[in-house]
Subunit: 713 residues, 2 copies
């Protein structure tokens, strides 16, 4: 049976397509009924059509217009399946290419590279956890700690990382904690009771590799094995985030947060044709895959091409505690796990306000059976204050428009931690990526009275280690066409000599903009002290007003880059952690700044270093721009037991792309439209009668004698 | 007659107090009935009580509690009047101190310094404009340009600046433009038709000083006097921002922006006692003065002192075109003009959404008569997305709270330009200042076909000059008390040698936080490459969890600082433009980073350089922290005819101030509370019946044959 065609060639694989892939693979590689080997489906991913086919197709799509899509040719539809054959003692991994044109069929099978590792997955982690929790060696190690009867051991699978160039087997380390409610409350925050052991399991056969013992002083590597007595678990206190448990702990929830509702009486201002959204002159396609999460493609404004594809490419989270086994902690949350797979099911009225549209993510279990994340993406409008304003001081007439934005949001949970990714589109043709880091810190045990140079004590016995989050965002521009040039622009002081001032700068106030086109692929850095901006220009299209090439500008976030020593494996693994901006020549499939296989990589993952290593010419070429930014997170006590969002936004703004402010046609902000209300004061603790509460129709709550001095509010 | 006492010693001067000041001054300095001299009231300002009186009073105020304020002592109430005696040929300026305790009386009169200049004011500018527009020399200069009959000349008073250390008289230069509608539409954007002359008027007697001719090529200093023919004004096109004029120009306003309303069915969550606001454990006093605009004082969280006083202290806007007369363009919008005086009358449903409370600003005309800006400050709550979230991957239970903020907003118009200042308080005890730059660029004439290294052509014949905006924010901390220490913290790589790894960093991943306390007053710089933060600590109060001093942290914005050459007058005048952070020892009245008198200052305005020049000890002392940040603005075509907001936020966040996340008690975000709605698609251009529009209850707008391929949305 033929697989139904997608509406759009970038639409994620449908359940039918996923099922077809699984069937096609199973037809080739039979499952062993007797358990000698088992097929383990790790990922099934759309292979986006090559740009040379897709780019013209997208132009045709736009030319055809709504209601006439049926005249468009069907592009080849291909997927790649990452599948393992798990045998009791070993697993072999394959990449199996499937064509979905007509009846699904396998077109090629290759072995996954043996010098790199396939990612772990949740099923492997859960299986390893189950095996760990009943493993006699682990139980003996736990028993030695003489833990209390009301505590239950919880083990969170983590990423193994790497500490040398040697290839190790595929491992899952476990961060071990206590649930201090004896498991009665599954949402009790076990991160406030970390145990100082890290058992390491095989990700393939779920056997115990070894148990690592962790340092428990602020410095040095002494472990519980060096203590005279058992581990003093008594130091832990419950430190809860779950509302019911917070209340149960005696902390009253606030009662003075009054409702705040976003009402859109005429509905949202966007419309959808399948997964292509139209909003305020913007149009683009919203894709989604297991690794990058949301992918926005064919982004156009008022019909003009702006970006071919944007996505978060990868992220690395290196930790700064140099002591074993913590030195290995370095997650690549996208490459190692997958932002799509970790997406939250977003819920109405919780994660955003107003009129919300949700997109589901269809995927599958390791057995190939269909699964779905309901509401993996939410789409809504947001008011972001004023868009622009001018008051004519002669007429006192204000011209004011608000800044409505369209938000495409995904929230991911990676074990203890959360990331919120929101792409925002505004009415002045700007595109913004807002990232928020929240969730729970990765914690380690520390003895009472100790402090550490490697982190902060955030709860008794709990060390939250210093770490970084570095994101890599992939921006494939199409500024009025696919051939673009990146130009670095610095604002620099003009030469001046006070004693002998030059003719063109007699008072020393002049500055000019120094423009340096990026000619070869490579890494480039932020320089806020020079107001450095990177303009993505189309040198063939000149703005009729300014006479300069049309452009979008990127002001790079000047975050601290990798702190790890440049000679370390941690540094080598973070292929995108050396510079803020990378420019590469476009190649189909070159999507992963950290390399395609980041899990336990040792610094040769064929990611950004390979991409830029070609030294391609990138002037007036089809290029990709990558931005690395993030935060060095030295935890505060306030970041525990759950962390208030650390928010960061970077923007792509038109710069001489249009011939005037593109938001000039946004209707003025008026009370008729917005219907706001004047604040009505409640009783302010004043004596009834004296304060005028009664006259104002306010219920007066005062006792006699409580009137304030002037008797008025 | 006694002047009524204020409710709170920081309340702005009331109309009665202003009137009492004017009367007291007039009783001393009689107005001349025959016009030989005239009293000119420039500013009447509250002198805030000295900290040694006010700080204990504020503690008493909190201790007394609502309804018991009448037990508090009355603090001395003093004001200072800046008044000129204008005579036909000269003006003398006085600072007159008035006591408002009991009957108002003048306590001291001093002459304004003669080596510095008093600010201009709107009345002077309007008087000078009136005189200019009928001045024969100016009319002759205009006539020579052979302007069209449909054009009317408009002249905007500006700031004169300075270009040498020599003292000049007090001048008002005029930026001259054409209103291309012959003045028929007063809101027509004359900034799109700049004329290349800058007449300079005396700010004192409104006489014409001279007419400066401006460069009209992209480089060099040739003016219209160097042209063979008249100035080619024909090159100008109307380029409007006023909605009615935009529409009249043939641009249709968008019709697809659907209403978006913020409804607070139970009202706002804040309460006011006079000008003291209480919201979500925060309390503070909202002052306002002609110069700084809003001033927030006695900021406490859950009863604990956090900041004694925060305000925007000054701002400088230096321009980078080195050619006369533009080289002199450098505004100090607060020091030269006054943010309070320029405040917009904010209007319901335009400038913010939801339940809004407004505060008026009572002031006076130059004649001393009462005036008021209605709604100079607006106060409202805003939803800013998620506050924190964690999903337990085992139970799939999300814990999610939203981030409600309280916003104190003022918008100022300084001739062509607008600034929006919004102080934001969040539920996790963070304080943020959001600045938005918008309004209209200061423009200059440029001949057709010319481009300039000093700016960008944003409309035919219109050069928008490159410039900077540097804000200085004054933060007077009281982190659990008035004696605080600023500690600079850098995240730095630990030493590592791969060949011979040190014992404490065997894999090269370690990093530590280098702490440098600021011991002497001075300037300090941002260093994002080291993740530099400045912690304002109270070394006497130790956080019981982390063992570190309680603190609030400031992550400085690493904006480009003054680009002008360090030997230039422009650079000298920007006393706060050399560093991102300044730390000074507190002194009463030391409020102005640019100096008290910035107008036409030449670099010796007794501002920041004098404050830090004392070299005070600032460790564990009563200190003030100042943050300089801003933007280098090299205009885009998209910034014209009105500029989309350039937004910037910096934050003050608790860092080991609390013993856990202070937002842990915010109730969960639920649909019951938020009442959001599922998006309802409209007809997506699909054939009635085939798409299921009817079944979904959607009005189908398609013609026959317009159904999309799959027949579903």
């Amino acid at each position: 049976m033929s697989v139904p065609a997608p509406l759009h060639p970038l639409d994620p694989l449908s359940p039918a397509e996923i099922a077809a892939c699984v069937s096609a693979v199973k037809a080739k590689v039979k499952e062993n009924e007797h358990g000698e080997h088992r097929l383990w489906f790790k990922s099934i991913q759309l292979i986006e059509p090559p740009k040379k086919l897709l780019a013209p197709w997208l132009d045709q799509w736009h030319a055809a217009g709504r209601g006439h899509r049926n005249i468009l040719p069907r592009l080849p539809r291909n997927a790649v399946v990452l599948m393992g054959v798990k045998r009791p003692k070993s697993t072999t991994w394959y990449e199996i290419f499937v064509s979905l044109d007509g009846k699904a069929k396998v077109t090629e099978t290759i072995s996954a590279p043996t010098h790199l590792h396939v990612p772990p997955d949740m099923a492997e982690m859960m299986a390893a956890e189950e095996a760990l929790l009943k493993h006699p060696e682990f139980l003996r190690a736990v028993e030695k700690m003489q833990l209390p009867p009301h505590a239950r051991v919880v083990a969170d699978g983590w990423i193994y990382g790497a500490d040398s160039e040697e290839r190790t087997n595929r491992h899952t380390p476990f961060m071990v904690y206590l649930n201090l409610t004896n498991g009665e409350h599954e949402d009790s925050c076990h991160y406030s009771a970390p145990l100082p052991i890290v058992p390491v399991m095989s990700s393939d056969d779920f056997s115990l590799v070894r148990i690592d013992y962790c340092p428990i002083f602020g410095t040095g590597e002494k472990t519980i094995l060096d203590l005279d007595g058992p581990f003093p678990w008594h130091l832990y206190v419950t430190n809860e985030y779950d509302a019911a448990l917070v209340e149960a702990s005696g902390v009253a929830l606030r009662t003075d947060v009054k409702p705040y509702r976003v009402i859109q009486p005429e509905g949202a201002s966007f419309s959808l044709e399948g997964r292509v959204i139209n909003w305020q002159k913007w149009s683009f396609h919203i894709g989604f895959n297991y690794r990058e999460g949301p992918v926005l493609s064919d982004i156009r404004y008022d019909g003009r091409k702006v970006f071919y594809r944007v996505s978060v490419s990868d992220m690395t989270v290196p930790y700064g505690d140099p002591r074993a086994p913590y030195h290995r902690k370095q997650a690549f949350d996208l490459g190692d796990i997958g932002a799509g797979l970790c997406a939250n099911s977003l819920q109405l009225g919780c994660d955003c306000l107003g009129e919300i549209h949700y997109l589901d993510f269809d995927h599958f279990g390791v057995d190939g059976q269909a699964q779905a994340i309901k509401g993996a993406v939410c789409i809504h409008e947001q008011d972001e204050g004023l868009g622009w304003k001018h008051t004519n001081f002669r007429t006192n007439r204000p011209s004011v428009v608000r800044n409505r934005v369209l938000v495409i949001q995904t929230i991911i949970t990676v074990a203890n931690y959360e990331y919120i990714f929101a792409w925002k589109f505004d009415q002045a043709a700007g595109v913004h990526l807002e990232t928020r880091a929240t969730g729970i810190l990765s914690t380690a045990a520390i003895l009472p009275g100790e402090t550490s140079p490697y982190g902060n004590v955030v709860s008794p016995g709990v060390l939250a280690t210093n770490h970084q989050h570095l994101f890599s965002v992939r921006i494939d521009p199409s500024i009025d066409g696919h051939n673009n040039t990146v130009v670095q622009e610095d604002s620099v002081t003009m030469p001046y000599d006070k004693a002998n001032p030059p003719e063109n700068n007699r008072w020393g106030v002049g500055y000019v903009v120094e423009k340096t086109p990026v000619t070869r692929s490579g890494g480039y850095d932020a320089a806020p002290e020079k107001n450095r901006v990177f303009k993505i220009t189309n040198p063939s299209k000149i703005n009729p007003i300014s006479g300069k090439p049309v452009a979008y500008k990127l002001v790079p976030t000047p975050s601290q880059l990798m702190i790890a020593h440049p000679d370390s494996i941690q540094y080598a693994r973070a292929e995108f952690g050396e510079h803020h901006i990378y420019v590469t020549k476009y190649r189909d499939g070159e999507l992963y700044a950290g390399g395609k296989w980041t899990n336990q990589s040792t610094g040769n993952a064929e990611g950004m270093r390979a991409y830029i290593g070609r030294g391609d010419a990138v002037e007036n070429e089809d290029i990709v721009v990558w931005h690395t930014f993030g935060l060095t997170h030295n935890p505060r006590v306030e970041d525990f037991p759950v962390m208030p969002c650390e928010t960061h936004t970077f923007s792509l703004k038109p710069n001489d792309f249009f011939s005037k402010n593109p938001a000039i046609d946004v209707p003025p902000s008026t009370q008729t439209f917005n219907q706001s209300n004047l604040y009505k004061a409640g009783c302010a603790g004043c004596k009834d009668g004296g304060c005028g509460c009664q006259a104002k129709g306010i219920a007066c709550k005062c006792k006699a004698g409580e009137c304030n001095r002037t008797g008025k509010l």
